[in-house]
């Protein structure tokens, strides 16, 4: 069995948002929609203040609340653990948006323009309109096209850049690592063995596939 997950080392993340930009460039999401975000947490009060940068997005949960809620089976779990959306089946009821505790989903009925209505769509927006995503649910796919291309061509997701999500490829601090958690020799399994980690909202028992490393063991 395979289950692809993302590991974020929050000691390494510097909040540069390169992953956010790489995701946007790769997936051509509409203005205002970010499948990969980096949150900026400030903890404590002056002078004892700490800051943490936390990459977030779809957690590709093992027990995905969005897939349970979806009345159309447009949201479904693939055998490799990725939670995918069939845009042509989705009715845009937004129930999955309410079911997701990670605020990872969006529905865009009328896409914003990058520079506002007055300037219309830019050339790059016209090239990738993604009309199939209009008025239906959308979210991070772990760049599933790249993974499918890679596995079909003998590449290893998380190791070979052509088979790895754009955010993990682009990370300047090597904070984001993608891989198969079911493979004990994978990069993510090694990181999880050697580090203390947490999953966001673990108390909700979604079986999140996004792990945050916070200390070396």
């Amino acid at each position: 069995m395979t289950r692809y997950v993302m590991v974020a080392d929050i000691n390494r993340c510097v909040g540069c948002q390169t992953c956010t930009a790489a995701c946007k460039q790769t997936n051509a999401t509409a203005p205002g929609v970010q499948w990969r975000k980096v949150l900026d947490f400030e903890v404590g009060t002056y002078p004892n203040v700490r800051r943490a940068f936390i990459p977030v997005g779809c957690n590709h949960c093992l027990d995905a609340p969005c897939a349970d809620a979806c009345p159309t089976q447009a949201t479904y779990k693939r055998p490799d653990g990725i939670v995918a959306i069939d845009y042509d089946r989705c009715i845009g009821c937004a129930y999955c948006i309410q079911a997701c505790p990670y605020q990872a989903r969006d529905r865009v009925d009328i896409p914003n323009k990058a520079y506002g209505k007055a300037f219309g769509q830019m050339k790059h927006e016209q090239k990738v309109p993604h009309s199939e995503r209009r008025a239906v649910a959308q979210k991070c796919t772990f760049c599933v096209e790249r993974i499918d291309y890679g596995t079909a061509n003998g590449l290893i997701p998380g190791i070979d850049p052509d088979a790895t999500p754009a955010c993990a490829n682009s990370c300047i601090a090597d904070a984001l690592t993608f891989g198969d958690i079911e493979d004990p020799d994978s990069n993510v399994s090694k990181l999880l063995r050697t580090h203390e980690y947490f999953q966001m909202h673990a108390e909700l028992e979604t079986g999140s596939g996004f792990y945050y490393l916070w200390e070396r063991k």
Partner: protein
Amino acid sequence: MMLAPTLQKRWDWRAAGNFICGGSGSGLMIMAALLTLIGLHASGYALLASALVATGLGLVWLEIGRPLRSMNVFRNPRRSWMTREGLVATVLLPLGVLAFLSESTALSIPLLIMAAVAAALFLYAQARILHMAKGIPAWRTDAINPLIVSTGLTEGMGIVLIFAGLVQGNVAALFSGYGWILALALVFLRGAAWINYRYSLANNAPEATLQVLDRAHSVIALLGVAAPIVLLFLGKSYPAYQLPLAAAAGFFMVLCGWFCKYQIILHAAYSQGYAISHTPARGGGKPGPGLKPGWRLPQ
């Protein structure tokens, strides 16, 4: 980027309308069957009940992003309560209409009972739709189920009381038989479900959600519990004024249910927000505590 829970904007008054109309309609269908069984002439309510449920579903249809694909809603009966709600509605609506059309025939009561069973399933499905929305703490609590079911039944009884005067003898029958006791019991039950709901969220919801529910509490306690109880007792004590008193009690029973659902679905529906259980070490330092912005107590 907002870290604290934010108010959901994706389900608006149309979605709330489905829970309001669908809850009242299914509750009315159940009450119509119950009251018919205890001797009142209530099968005429079946048409109104079906119309309310259909109106609620129509409002949802107006809200979805791709209405022309709406038939896909029936594709996930194994897991989705939204699919189950839709499937039950396909049985409930025709049964309600048939029960109305067959009034004063031998088929009327069996059809009404079958419609009431479907209505009970519909009402339960509506409660579970909210319960399964894990991203909204105000909805996902177990206590939402008894609240949505009890308020639907109470609203249904309220509608019966509002229109009781349309059928000769129904008002007197309501106050002389078990009708008014049923109404009182439902008001108490909903009050208890509301208290249970608030208690379940006390340390388990975003601060903003709790503030909305705190503000709603006095309205629900006064107009949804106290007012109907007083009016129903007055109706029992003063037979000459039973018609207006029953209608007023019914009005408050319905109004409070609608208010309660509107508050929960539109105003208290803050998302989970973001949280971290640890902050990273910087330089040679140690990792620090986590943070859950927008929540009253650290979870």
